[in-house]
Each structure stands twice: as structure tokens, then as C-alpha cells.
Amino acid sequence: MSMTGQEMENIFEKQNLWRKLSLFDWGWAAIILMSTAYAWQQYSVFMDAYEAGILFATALAIIAWGWFWKPVRAYSLYVAVISLFAIYLYGNELALGETNFFLKFLISSKSAIMWMSALYVLATVAYFIGLFIGSEFSSKTASAMTWSATVMGLVGLLVRWRESYLIHFDVGHIPVSNLYEVFILFSIITALMYLYYEGKNKTYNMGGFVLLVISSAVAFLLWYGFGSRGASEIQPLVPALQSYWMKIHVPANFVGYGAFALAAMLAVAYLIKDTMVKKGRGGAIIERFPDLDILDDVMYKSIALGFAFFTLATILGAMWAAEAWGGYWSWDPKETWALIVWLNYAAWLHLRLTKGWRGRPLAWWSIIGLFVTLFAFIGVNMFLSGLHSYGEL
């Protein structure tokens, strides 16, 4: 759990949670609650009980998240303001996306995603420059760009959500229903997790490695979404996907995928550094690589987090399947691969926790784990047929 040295010092003093919170914390929470109440008042007629539950639980979760990790407060405000501006500009006129200056070039869903893509790629480069020449300025710029990209990514998704309703009331749905959309989700979730560890460990030097996997996701996104396939077009949902389950199952899954990807990229950094040091070729650059201990620790934490969310996501998926297809487990390829991924990381965690494995073997294992995860994530859709319909390549 995250605590700064200062917070730690207070741990043995009499205290309560409420006094630890600042005025900003309270004001921000009030804004979240008020917006939720507004959303409820406006849209409750369209929600079933589960969706209402999801709405309020999400509000509370965001507040808890922001109190736990402070940068979330500013992040959420930026995202909210920009998204609302875009939605305001749209009004009821989807065609404005082509004519309005702000929408066309900045904050229509497609433009925001383009900005996100560009910023992630630039951030990757900047992080590596920071790492190789030891430039603090470059690293800080990279971090700022990563934050901005993550703002734009979430803006892109939220605006897309609105755009889907502008196409037609019937078509509207949360944008986590096809490969294009979930790749955006993947990018921003991975980035957020990385940014958390960056802040906590006060090191920018893991950035390049993590952003590399995000940049790859961006490359796929551009090819898949904007290439000849045109997957960036908003499509209506098939009946089986029209369920509140999608709103919780898919995001939970992508916290898992993101965390596993993060762990694998840290494993790459770990192996490079470890190998170079062992060969006695640890020059200044290798020196600047993050500490092996930090890498090992963050790798573990990230897999633990991913495992927790992935377990939850798989369970939610099973419950959804029980409701949509009549069975909580059908050995459908996507389900089966979720089990394979789960078993893989269960083995990883057992080896670390009971056998005390550390370092290289587990780093290799995380990298292999990423390939297993990738197959579950896209390979299944590409090569195997089954009931999970989104995005056949």
C-alpha cells in the first residue's frame, strides 16, 4: 500500500482518516457526488437496478481511489472538464465533429485518440532519452506527456460513449465492446498503473520500458482502427452484449491485462540490467536503470494486482455467461484461455510466495506470461472461434 515517509511517521500517532484529508479531497469528493446525483436525476429512468448500483459504486470507488492516490483528483477533473466541453460542443449534432474546430482537431473521440497515440509514442522516446543521457528534464517531460496522453485517452473514450448515443439512441453503449475500444482502455489502464508506481518509487527510469508496450498497443490501434478495417466506426451491439455486465467485466479484465503487461516490461528491464551487471558491463546507462529490487518488487505487486482483478473479471464473466448463455462455464475458447492465464499467474505467485523464488526465473516467466495473456486477449479472437464475438480480426 502506498504511504510516503511522512505518512508513515504518523502511523503510531492517534489519528483518524478524516483529519488526513485536505480541503481539496473533500471538495473533490463533493463534486463527484454531485455529478453522480445529477447523472442519476437525469438518466435514472433508463437504468435498471444493477446499472444504478454500478453508477453509485463507481462514484464511491473513484472517491476512494482519489483519496488513496492523490493525482487521481486532478486527473479526473481534467478529464471531466474536457469531455463535458466536447459533449457541450456536440449538442445533438454528430456532424459537428467534422466542422467544429475544437472537435475536429482536438477533442472529438477520434482526434482525442490520435492525440493520445502521438503523446504516448513521444513519451516513450522521451523516457528513453532521459534514461540514456540521464536527463531529468527529458524524463519529467515524458511523465507529463504520459499524463496528458492518459487524459486524452479517457476523454476519447468518454466522448465516444456520447457519440454512440448521437448516432442513434439504440446504438449508444459504453465503449468497451470491440478490439479498437478495449485497446484504448488497455493503454490508459497500463499507463495509470505505471504512473502510480512512478510516483511511489520516485523513479522515471522504468517509463521507457512500460511505454514501449503501450506504444505497441497504439501501433495496433492505428493499424486496426484507422487502417483499411475501419474498426474505429461505432457499431451497434449484438443482443448478447447488451448487458450491464459488460460495464464491469471488461474493465476489470483490462486492469488484469494491463498489470500483466506492466510486469512483463519491468521483467525485460530487470533481465537487461541483471545480465549486463553480471557480465561486468554495467556502464553509466545500466547504472541509471531502476534498482533490481524495485523492479522485482513492482513486478510482484503488479502481478498480484493483476491476478486479483483478473480473478474478479473471470468470475464476473462466468456470472454473465450464466445469464446470457445459460451456463457459467462452457469451455468456450475465451473462457478457457482466461483459465490458462489464471493458472499461469497462480503458478508464478505460488513460486514466489512459497518457494521464495525471485529475480531472473520469475522475470522470464512474466515475459512468457505476457505472450499467454496476449493470446487470450487477441489471439483467441484471431485464431479460434467461439462465443466471444467482439472484433474478429
Binding site: P236, P239, T311, E323, W325, G326, W337
Partner: protein, 711 residues
């Protein structure tokens, strides 16, 4: 005052703590099980990490095979794919139904036993850890711990103890104190629920696996092995399925089956898929489908579908009416009824077959008569033998689609333009000849427009892998096929053709001023011959004939004159057809009728590629849909969910609640009466780094407190 805190970022840090727990457990067991040497070995094998990891990996690999090799297909598909030898090998290894094969279930069984052993071994330790504060520690052992420190203070041991206990309480620790000969030992801990996480996760695995196994079809497999059950592999009506493949309502505690119910029908049975066959399961109630509704998006994609059903209990006669929708199942007693799919429920087609093939004996009047197939009705999914002069054919109606929405190629970006167009209903069917060869056809019931004219479309292909090749038949003034086939019928009628040919020859020679009877007769014969060739294969057929029979240097002249002659007779035939329709051909031939002639002649040119003995037209239809339901009984479901909740809670406890202990030993100072000496140490089990920080804060607190007191 010494205050040493060792760096805790060393590797191999957490292992000893975990291992120590394990060691304790094993030692305790050893003492318990001294007498049972074999059992001990067995337990240590079953509970070993090596076994657990191997099982994880093997199950993962088996699962991968199951996703790559499509499961539960028709056995013939496998034989074609792998050949008879490998088919037999794979089948005996149950690779076509891996997830319910005996060896896969055995693997899961091992997983169960392994976790159970683990729980059995750990539980005593966990309970002890949970309850005990471990007050039996020595200064020596404390100093050996990674996080430790020592202080001197003027406080009395009691004062120091009070202060420390308060701080520990603030920090969320529970503590116990022991006084022994003036020495105070304080043992404190927090986050003991972490240990519960271990029980929860592993217990959850057992609960989930057992309940899922209970919901699976393992009992049916056992009965199959015992010879009490045999899956049916033939395509039979439910009523014909023999008893050995049937299950009574109370015979099976859990199942997952399918039922397809046409509108207006009732069923009390479901089919359980089992490898390449099925079992018929009786239900304690019947389901009637009153109405099936489906909505589409503009793109033709289904938007929603739902069924109005009535459930009637077979025993009590109690009736329940409800609507079942995708994602909104109907729960009745222990049963759940899901909207799964939809299909044709036996729509009835009202069919007219137009003669198409030009048989060798087309010349006979009887042949022409025999070609008149009286209109008939046929149900989708059924087949029927049709007699034609060219032989008997089997007509199989495969699929009826009520609408066919396609992207509109002409759609612009305009706001109100339709991006999609609906081609209307279509019928897919096969025509199989006596040797078993079949062609597949797709006919659109409504004509579609091309450049403002109407055409009937029919696609044909020999195998499912090919795209359809389409024949466009122009629609006449009544938007029907009648004129086209009348024209063909007339061309194929030798008696009529002779009359028309003679008439046409006479007329054209007279207008040219050479009314020679012999020439007229000759010309009529040529005309009739050309028309016959044309009827068989359009202009191409005529050209081929010229190429085959006329010397090369004369071909051009001959074909020029032949085509002129052919056009003349075809024109006359067309006029006769129009006359037959009641058109006044002297005055009022419309432009459309002229255009029709051109379109028809074009179509005639390609019609020979349309390999069909007749052209099938659906004149009307009665659409009937069937709703596909999945009906399940899964009594273990709630237990599975309970296991899932335990699993999640357990994981959070295990990963995110740190189990931490702090010990403090306070000894009265020897030299001065009032002071005392403190040794403190602690451990954070699997959260060493975090604990190290916490312990550092604790040390600093003591530093500060005792420093202030000095000054």
C-alpha cells in the same frame, strides 16, 4: 543508545518468514504422524508445491489442446481431418471431448486433493497464528531479526510499557503483555486475517471444483460406462429415440440442454449434447412458444429477440406466461430457460417450378407437357423428388430468410440517405441429381431494380466455398417471370416453332420480293434450327455452331446473315408471346416491352450456365420462426458463486493485508534504579519492505520520546 535497522530490500527476504510457517506446520505434522510413515509420504507428496505447479501447467496445456482442437464436432469431420488412424487414436484419448474426459477430471481431482492436503496441513498452524501472540521470545532471537533496535530510557519498565502499548494501539496493533521477574515482554500483531486469506482461497478452489463437477455431466458418463445410457447419433424425431438414450425428468440432477420450438408448438423435452451424439431429457414441465419477436438495426444485424412462452407444470398444471429475452432468462423452480438463438421453424413455401433444362428430346410434345410441374407446397428443411423429362431430382429447401440487408453501394454521406437496402426474403435450396451431385441456389423472392428495370435474382454454386454466380431474369409488365418462360416454352415447342418459322420466312421473303416456296421452306428450316440452337445456349451457341461447320473465310458473312435471320424469328416469337398476353402488337408496343426483349435475349445467352433442371419461384410463403432455448438445471451454481466470493476475499486478504508482528522486551536497568532497557523487533511476513518502513517510524518515535525525556 543503539538503533540498528538493517536494509530490508535484500532479496530472499520474504521467503524465510513463509518457510518458517511451513516448517512449523511440517514439524507438527511429523510429530502427529510418526506412526504413519506411508501416510506422511503421501501427504507430503499431495501437498507439495511441485505437484501443485505441475498440475497448473498440465491442466493449462490440456486446456490449450481443447481450444485448438474444436471439441464435440461431428465424428465425420474429424475422420476427414485426421484420417481414420489418428482419429481412432485421438478418440481413444478422448481428445474430442477433453473437458469431460476421465483423465481431465482426474487432473482436477488431484488439484482438489492437493489443495485439501494443503489446508489440512496448514489449518492448525493458522489457528495458532491467529490466536497466539507468541510471548515466548528471547532478547537474542529479537536481535537476530531484520528489523530490530534497542534503547535505554529513564522510564520504569511499566511506564515504558504503557507508552509503547498506547503507540502500538494507535498503529492498529493488538498486544499482550507478560511480566516475568521484572522483565516485561510485549507481543503485538496486526493483520492476522491475512492468514484467513489462505484458507479462503484454497477452500474456495475446493468448493468451486466440487460444485462445478456436480453440475457437470460426469454422472451421465458413469452411467454410460455402466451401459445404462447410450448417446443417439442418428437424426431422429424425439419420439423415435430409443429408451437407452432417454432420461426421465427425475433421473438427472443437473444438465444443460437445447430445445428449438417453432411458434405455436409445445415441447417437454430438451436435447443434451454428448460428444457426437445426444440424449433426450424429459422436463417436468412443458414450454409453449406463443410468439417470437425479433428487431433489427438498420444494418440488418439483430438488435434484440425475445419469446413469449407459457410454462405448464406437468404435475400441478400450474401455468406461467412470461417473456424470455437475451440476457434475461426465465427462472422456474430449479430450471433456467434462456433465449439462445432463433432459426426457421418450418416456414411453408408455395412453389412454382418453371422448366429450365433443354432435354435432348425437347422436340416431343409430351416432353413439353411433362415439364409442366403443378405448383406445390414444401416446408423448409424438407426435401421432395421432382420428376422432369431430364430425370428425377431431389429438391432440398435449406434456409429461408425473411430479409437480406446489405450495404447500399450507392449511399452517399448525406444525412437522410439509406446506408443499407433490404433485398427482401430469400430461399436457399439444393437440387440433387440421381447421382447425388447437388448445386446450391439462392433465390430472392422480390425482384430487384437495375437501372430502373426489375429483375429476379438467382445465385448458383457447386460448393459452399464458391461465391454465388447470379442469373438476372427480367420481370415482365406484371412483375412476373411468366413472359420469360413463355418465350422459352415457345422456343422449345417444335410444332409451334415450325409454324412460326414458316410464317416468318414467308413474310420476310415476300417483303424482299422473292416468294419462292422452296426457298421459304429452306429458310424456315434454318430459322427453326437457329432458334433451337439459341434456345440451348444463346448467341454463343449459334456462333460456336458456325465456327464448327463453316469454313473460316466464310464465317463472317454467314454469321452476319444468320444473325439477321435469327433476330427476325426471335422477334416474331416475342410478338407471339406478347399477343398471348393480350397486347395489341400492331399499335402499342411500349418502350419497356422493347427493352424487355433486349434484356431477355441477354439472359438467354447465359442461361445455359445456370445448371438447373427447373427454375424455382416462391409465389408466396407462410413464415414460421422457431426460438432456440437453452434450458439448464445447475444446483451447484450458488455454491460456485459462494466459492468465487471466498476466492476474491481471500486474495485481497492475502495480498493486501499485511500480517505484522512487533515484540518488545523491557528489562529494568541494572545500574540506575529507575531506568530500563528496551529491545524491539518485528517482522512483516510477506510485506517486509512495507514493514521495514513502519518499523523505522516506530524506532524514530522511540528515539524522539526517549531523547526528549533526557533533555
Amino acid at each position: 543508545m543503539s538503533n540498528e535497522i538493517k536494509s530490508d530490500t535484500q532479496q530472499q527476504e520474504e521467503a524465510p518468514a513463509a518457510a518458517s510457517l511451513q516448517k512449523q506446520a511440517i514439524e507438527r505434522e511429523r510429530s502427529n504422524l510418526k506412526e504413519h510413515g506411508l501416510l506422511k509420504v503421501l501427504l507430503s507428496f499431495l501437498g507439495s508445491m511441485e505437484l501443485a505447479i505441475s498440475l497448473f501447467v498440465i491442466i493449462a496445456i490440456a486446456s490449450i489442446i481443447g481450444t485448438i482442437l474444436q471439441q464435440n464436432q461431428d465424428y465425420n469431420t474429424y475422420i476427414v481431418k485426421f484420417g481414420p488412424f489418428w482419429f481412432e487414436v485421438f478418440r481413444s484419448m478422448e481428445l474430442f471431448d477433453i473437458y469431460s474426459s476421465w483423465w481431465f477430471v482426474l487432473l482436477l481431482g488431484f488439484l482438489l486433493v492437493s489443495t485439501a492436503t494443503c489446508i489440512y496441513r496448514y489449518t492448525p498452524t493458522i489457528i495458532r497464528e491467529w490466536r497466539q501472540f507468541r510471548l515466548k521470545v528471547s532478547s537474542k532471537s529479537l536481535k537476530l531479526m531484520h528489523s530490530s533496535g534497542s534503547w535505554n530510557t529513564k522510564n520504569s519498565p511499566d511506564e515504558a510499557a504503557e507508552f509503547i502499548k498506547e503507540k502500538l494501539r494507535n498503529g492498529g496493533y493488538q498486544s499482550r503483555q507478560k511480566n516475568e521477574q521484572g522483565v516485561i515482554t510485549i507481543a503485538a500483531k496486526k493483520g492476522a486475517v491475512n492468514r484467513l486469506g489462505y484458507l479462503f482461497t484454497h477452500g474456495a478452489i475446493i468448493i468451486i471444483c466440487l460444485s462445478a463437477l456436480y453440475d457437470g455431466n460426469f454422472n451421465l458418463k458413469l452411467r454410460e460406462v455402466a451401459g445404462q445410457l447410450k448417446p443417439e447419433t442418428r437424426d431422429l424425431f424425439a419420439s423415435q429415440v430409443p429408451d437407452i438414450s432417454r432420461l426421465k425428468a427425475d433421473e438427472n440432477h443437473a444438465f444443460r440442454g437445447n430445445a428449438s420450438i417453432p411458434e405455436g408448438n409445445t415441447t417437454g423435452l430438451v436435447f443434451l449434447q454428448m460428444r457426437n451424439g445426444y440424449l433426450v431429457q424429459e422436463l417436468p414441465f412443458t414450454i409453449s412458444l406463443n410468439e417470437f419477436r425479433i428487431e433489427h438495426y438498420d444494418s440488418g444485424m439483430p438488435k434484440s429477440f425475445e419469446s413469449d412462452v407459457v410454462i405448464e407444470d406437468k404435475e400441478t398444471g400450474e401455468k406461467i406466461s412470461k417473456t424470455v429475452e437475451v440476457n434475461h432468462p426465465l427462472i422456474y423452480k430449479d430450471f433456467a430457460i434462456y433465449q439462445a438463438s432463433f432459426e426457421d421453424g418450418g416456414s411453408i413455401m408455395d412453389i412454382q417450378a418453371w422448366p429450365m433444362a433443354v432435354p435432348d428430346n425437347a422436340g416431343s410434345a409430351e416432353a413439353a407437357e411433362a415439364f409442366k410441374i403443378t405448383p406445390f407446397k414444401q416446408v423448409i428443411g424438407e426435401s421432395k423428388v421432382i420428376k422432369t423429362p431430364a430425370g428425377d431430382y431431389k429438391l432440398e429447401l435449406a434456409e429461408f430468410k425473411i430479409s437480406n440487408v446489405q450495404p447500399n453501394p450507392k449511399a452517399g454521406t448525406g444525412e437522410n440517405e439509406h446506408k443499407f437496402k433490404n433485398m427482401g426474403p430469400s430461399l436457399t435450396f439444393r437440387i440433387r441429381d440421381s447421382s447425388g451431385q447437388a448445386q446450391e441456389f439462392i433465390n430472392y423472392l422480390n425482384p430487384s431494380t437495375q437501372e430502373g428495370r426489375f429483375f429476379f435474382l438467382s445465385g448458383v454454386r457447386s460448393t459452399a466455398a464458391e461465391p454465388f454466380r447470379y442469373l438476372f431474369i427480367p420481370a415482365d409488365d406484371d412483375i412476373s417471370l411468366k413472359r420469360f418462360f413463355d418465350f422459352r416454352a415457345l422456343l422449345g415447342n417444335p410444332v409451334e416453332m415450325q409454324r412460326i418459322a414458316e410464317k416468318t420466312a414467308a413474310m420476310s421473303l415476300q417483303s424482299a420480293g422473292v416468294p419462292d416456296a422452296k426457298m421459304i421452306a429452306q429458310m424456315a428450316i434454318v430459322m427453326q434450327k437457329l432458334a433451337e440452337l439459341f434456345n440451348q445456349g444463346g448467341f454463343d451457341r449459334v456462333l460456336n455452331d458456325i465456327n464448327d461447320n463453316v469454313p473460316e473465310d466464310k464465317q463472317k458473312d454467314v454469321s452476319d446473315s444468320y444473325f439477321k435471320v435469327l433476330q427476325t424469328i426471335l422477334g416474331t416469337v416475342y410478338l407471339e408471346v406478347l399477343q398471348g398476353e393480350g397486347v395489341d402488337i400492331e399499335n402499342s408496343i411500349t418502350l419497356a416491352q422493347e427493352q424487355y426483349y433486349d434484356d431477355m435475349v441477354n439472359t438467354m445467352g447465359v442461361v445455359s450456365n445456370y445448371k438447373a433442371p427447373f427454375f424455382l419461384q416462391v409465389k408466396s410463403f407462410e413464415h414460421k420462426e422457431a426460438s432456440g432455448f437453452q434450458i439448464t438445471k445447475a444446483p451447484g451454481k450458488d455454491l460456485v458463486y459462494l466459492g468465487c466470493i471466498l476466492l476474491c476475499v481471500g486474495i485481497v486478504l492475502m495480498f493486501y493485508v499485511a500480517h505484522k508482528r512487533i515484540w518488545i522486551i523491557i528489562t529494568p536497568a541494572v545500574e540506575s534504579e529507575s531506568g530500563s532497557r528496551l529491545i524491539a523487533a518485528g517482522s512483516g511476513d510477506r510485506h517486509q519492505n512495507e514493514f521495514a518502513m513502519e518499523f523505522k517510524a516506530f524506532s524514530q518515535l522511540l528515539d524522539k520520546h526517549f531523547m526528549e525525556e533526557k533533555s
